[in-house]
Symmetry: C2
């Protein structure tokens, strides 16, 4: 299915200082600027993984300079930086560092072939040395704030945004409070166990967690040998009536349904908004199945819960960093 | 094992007005009074299940009167009532009602043989009509507040109390905020799915949730036919080297370990305190196995997490209602 995302344009009020929006993933870092004209000056590079362990922080500072130049904005006028980042995080004297096994070579020895021996990558400290206001959150929290502000979770005090994409992530809000936890790592729904499986290896080292079973990157790993090279191939086959593809997707929906039910039982939510490429392009197929999984299960918890597509569609990630710092 | 609970005595300051402490379960309601002398005047009755649907609320008001008489306290001096109750809850115009399938006959038709057709039992409304300050929370939240105040969770901003008893319950605190959710039902860890099981029926109607597999009331249901009539028999057998009992407990610890790991991944906690009769009397056997389950799993989340026995031991429940209203 080719489902387009809503065309939502966000502008700062005329006269507001420009904001820097930083999106950190395991493979690339993207930076853009927001001002009264909207979002512009997008630049991106492969995530820095060589040199001292502030290399990523220095890369971001450099990219903010480039993004400003591209957008025609004075670097000196930039006071606030919002950073929406992959995790997990580590708090060191209150400042966020990344402890991501696909960035930090020191975490798993040299086994992953990373060109560094970092135990963590400095992030908030170098940015705070260069800018006045810095807010770093995991990308689940960034996306949640964007959905609460401009998307499908507006006005909701008990809600979550769940991404079903290359990986599985979440940001959750309970009683109007956005959950962070001791190191800012609350919401790692992809790394929870909902069924027993002793074969599927996750990038995080766990075996059989939700992400290892249903994420976009798990589909080729698990089903390529059966002729489904990726999520797109799997869903195309199911739509043409391929019984095996339909059965596989049913097992994926069982896993994701259980994960969403667990979130409901633990957080007592009003609404869950779903995004991410796997979900978004197959929402017509997946949404009714996930809703059916919930139906009738422990009504005191599931009554009054809605499961809806992300209001910002595939653009949730684009607005995540902005939502963290825009007033 | 006969492990005694810590002897913690809680007294209100001399001159403080007495507080009423109410503990509601599916089978009985207990009321006691707290003042400068400690806790006294405990009375209890089977939970009211006949008549109009404010019967439970009226029963509690009557029991508070009886408890005052027994404790030698003037009923008119009681301003505050703390209620720690089984769930699930329903909020009706902001006031808590009980929607518990083992109390409200209307929820499952007459199938459960309950002598009423209530869809919910009024609770907060009748109490508020009789007393100035009323605070109703689910018993997981009450226990959590008691552990944070007097037990093993003092000073913790990211923590949970989990009870492994007749049922499985939890109260959780993230970033210093105690989670409630849209109807005050956050924390239903017993009703989450962590392995696949299509046989074990939970009291809530779910099949294969955590409570259906490991709770005190699940053990006879699942293993009586193998000669283990209850948790005590099962653990005694395991301690005498019975290989089958040991294997069964290993599967219980796998389920509970996964549940605790999921909580850690979703809430990013510093400490989980464990109580409840199944855990408390077998903590020497269970605690090392649960800790071992966590060991090495996704270190960014499990490093810095402690799993400890409840500081209030088996008395957590006694202090839950008090913790809700004592300044």
């Amino acid at each position: 299915m080719n489902i387009t995302s809503p065309d939502i344009q966000i502008h700062l009020p005329v006269g507001s200082p420009a904001l820097a929006c930083v999106d950190i993933g395991g493979t690339k870092v993207a930076v853009s600027m927001a001002d009264h004209r909207g979002i512009s000056g997008k630049v991106s590079e492969p995530t820095a993984k060589e040199g001292a362990n502030d290399a990523l922080g220095q890369q971001i500072i450099r990219l903010i300079g480039q993004s400003c130049a591209l957008a025609g904005i004075q670097l000196s006028s930039v006071e606030s930086v919002g950073v929406s980042s992959c995790g997990p995080f580590l708090l060191n004297e209150g400042l966020v560092e990344l402890a991501a096994p696909n960035i930090c070579g020191g975490m798993a020895g040299k086994a992953r072939g990373l060109p560094n021996d970092w135990m963590s990558a400095l992030l908030e400290a170098p940015l705070r040395a260069a800018f006045k206001n810095v807010r770093v959150e995991n990308d689940g929290v960034g996306a949640l704030e964007a959905e609460r502000r401009w998307g499908a979770l507006q006005g909701m005090r008990n809600c979550a945004y769940v991404t079903w994409s290359t990986g599985i992530g979440m940001g959750a809000c309970v009683d109007g409070h956005i959950l962070r936890g001791k190191n800012g790592n609350a919401g790692h729904l992809g790394h929870t166990f909902v069924v027993e499986n002793n074969e599927a290896l996750c990038g995080c080292g766990l075996i059989g967690d939700v992400e290892s079973l249903v994420a976009g990157n798990a589909i080729p790993r698990r089903f390529d040998s059966e002729g489904y090279a990726d999520a797109s191939a799997l869903f195309s086959a199911a739509r043409s009536g391929d019984a095996r593809a339909i059965a596989i997707i049913d097992t994926l929906c069982n896993v994701m349904g259980r994960a969403l039910f667990n979130v409901t039982a633990l957080f007592d939510l009003q609404r869950i908004s779903l995004g991410g490429s796997v979900f978004w392009h197959n929402q017509d197929y997946l949404l009714p199945r996930l809703q059916a999984f919930m139906q009738g299960k422990l009504p005191a918890l599931t009554n009054g819960l809605e499961i809806v597509p992300a209001g910002l569609g595939e653009r949730v990630g684009d607005y995540a960093a902005l939502a963290l710092v825009m007033r």
